[in-house]
Amino acid sequence: MSAGRSPRDKRMSIDEVVAELSDGMTIGIGGWGPRRKPMALVRAILRSDLKDLTIVSWGGADVGLLLRAGKVRRLVYAFVSLDSVPLEPNFQKARQEGTVPEVVELDEGMFQTGLRAAAQRLPFLPVRAGLGSDVLVHNPDITTVTSPYADPDGVHEELVAVPALRLDVALVHLNRADKHGNATYLGPDPYFDDLFCMAADRAYVSVEQVVDTAGLTVDTPVQRLLLSRMLVTGVVETPHGAHFTTCTPDYERDERFQKAYAAAASGSDEDWAAFEQRFLAGDEDAYQAAVAAFAEEEQA
């Protein structure tokens, strides 16, 4: 087959992806809490001049880091947690010091429903979740809708109308992709990465490894192909790009590093500045080198 008949090559660098983002954008970040987060892309946003972002995330350190760097004007979340460290210290700090201008705290099911509505190009979808809770009190713009259909007992239920969570851009991290954007996850959970991509105008996927299209299914069931290239704008090969979150089975969470992160985040401003200087001041290669040095120190 001639190259001209092959689908587009969408490989990009981390910095090329970030160059396509702009101030005030709504960015959805895939993964879940401290799992399979596109951290290399998040770190690149930290290094950029981007500001006033709306971040939509099942939050982990992605949210904590972006808040600490002052990148976020509006945060949409259902939780922010590092799991083995239950509370995310940078998220706590931002909330307690009032430095994140606007928050939208949703129920987890509402969050998924909002993404689904966006993915289906609907203005909203109805759910029970949220009824009676303070999620509706603290988000007065979220309203309810009365079912046009009667239940068997004659009641027209009043349900939450979850507004679509439209995204300008989705950032996700998977295990493997081809250069065209077909991508597969090898761990036990797809999370919601396909939904993020469908809810977004443009989606960028970072992966541990770019392989030939034939290689995607040579040792992996086809059901693991989560993303089709038609949903993907750009592909970035970033080995260890989810660090310090999980990217099962390539690697698990770096618990020692996460502890060091949490300690610095909940410590003094000097503690945080030292962490930033050591790990976040340089580019992704510098980060990975600093992490390798940290791991060696911990071994010693």
């Binding site: 239950p86 029970r128 949220g130 009676g132």
Partner: protein, 258 residues
């Protein structure tokens, strides 16, 4: 066999909360709830569907934090929400605050706009409580947890659900609140928290003093049952041989009685 510890009494009380559930997904958050649910599956309710807390339904009943042996299904996070909406699930969640009307808070302490302490966020609590059976686990029963009114309503109690209409009330089912001191429910007068039993060695007054609102106390308050010899063997030798349970609920040192 030595006397049951407080953690073991709690495990049996949690197991009892799941005894009548039949074939549904038991979803425990935290160590003692996981121990209690696995104990229920090995004793009173073998039909329970349990998971590894991540993405697998387990056919066997492995010890706490052991790797899955036989897997019987796939339950990634996206499918959890399908089951929540579909209904066949009983979740036991933590609760940083619970009020007299059985509302729960895991979102934030203080004013939501500028919390004095930011917690996890409401997570799945709003959806759980209007979709499927929900229980709470409180490892340290105190007036800081049991407050007159929670700062943020994450989990919805029956009164709030009723006020929100039939769609909210239809499946609202706050089943049990198990603590290190007692077992309670929300079936008191006007849908308020009611004392069901006190754990061995705990007095009703002790529970009252540890509760920051007026608790409904029946004339007769039974003692929470002690685990059977079979249950003690299962907990001590099968499910938690490393005694991790004592980290969550410290063994009570009994004062010598004269």
């Amino acid at each position: 066999m030595s006397e049951p510890t407080r953690a073991e009494v709690c495990a049996a009380a949690i197991a009892d909360a799941f005894a009548d559930d039949g074939e549904i997904f038991a979803s425990p958050m935290g160590m003692l709830p996981m121990l209690g649910v696995r104990l229920a599956k090995l004793t009173s309710n073998p039909d329970l569907v349990i998971s590894d807390g991540e993405s697998l339904f387990l056919a066997g009943v492995p010890p706490l934090f052991a790797k899955a042996d036989v897997v019987e299904g796939w339950i990634p996070f996206r499918k959890v929400f399908d089951i929540v909406a579909n209904g066949p699930r009983h979740v036991m969640m933590g609760a940083t605050q619970v009020d007299r009307h059985g509302n729960q808070n895991i979102s934030a302490i203080g004013d939501f706009d500028r919390p004095t302490r930011q917690l996890l966020g409401s997570r799945g609590a709003p959806g759980n409580t209007v979709n499927n059976r929900t229980s709470y686990w409180v490892p340290r029963h105190s007036p800081r947890v049991f407050v007159e009114a929670v700062d943020v309503v994450s989990g919805v109690g029956p009164r709030r659900a009723a006020a929100a209409g039939p769609a909210a009330a239809r499946y609202n089912d706050i089943h049990r609140i198990v603590t290190d001191l007692a077992v309670l429910d929300v079936k008191g007068a006007d849908d308020t928290v009611r004392l069901l039993s006190v754990h061995p060695g705990v007095s009703v007054d002790e529970v009252r003093a540890a509760t920051g609102f007026e608790l409904e106390v029946p004339a007769e308050v039974p003692e929470t049952r002690s685990p059977t010899a079979e249950e003690l063997v299962l907990v001590r030798e099968v499910l938690d041989p490393r005694t991790l349970r004592d980290r969550e609920v410290k063994p009570v040192v009994r004062e010598a009685t004269s």
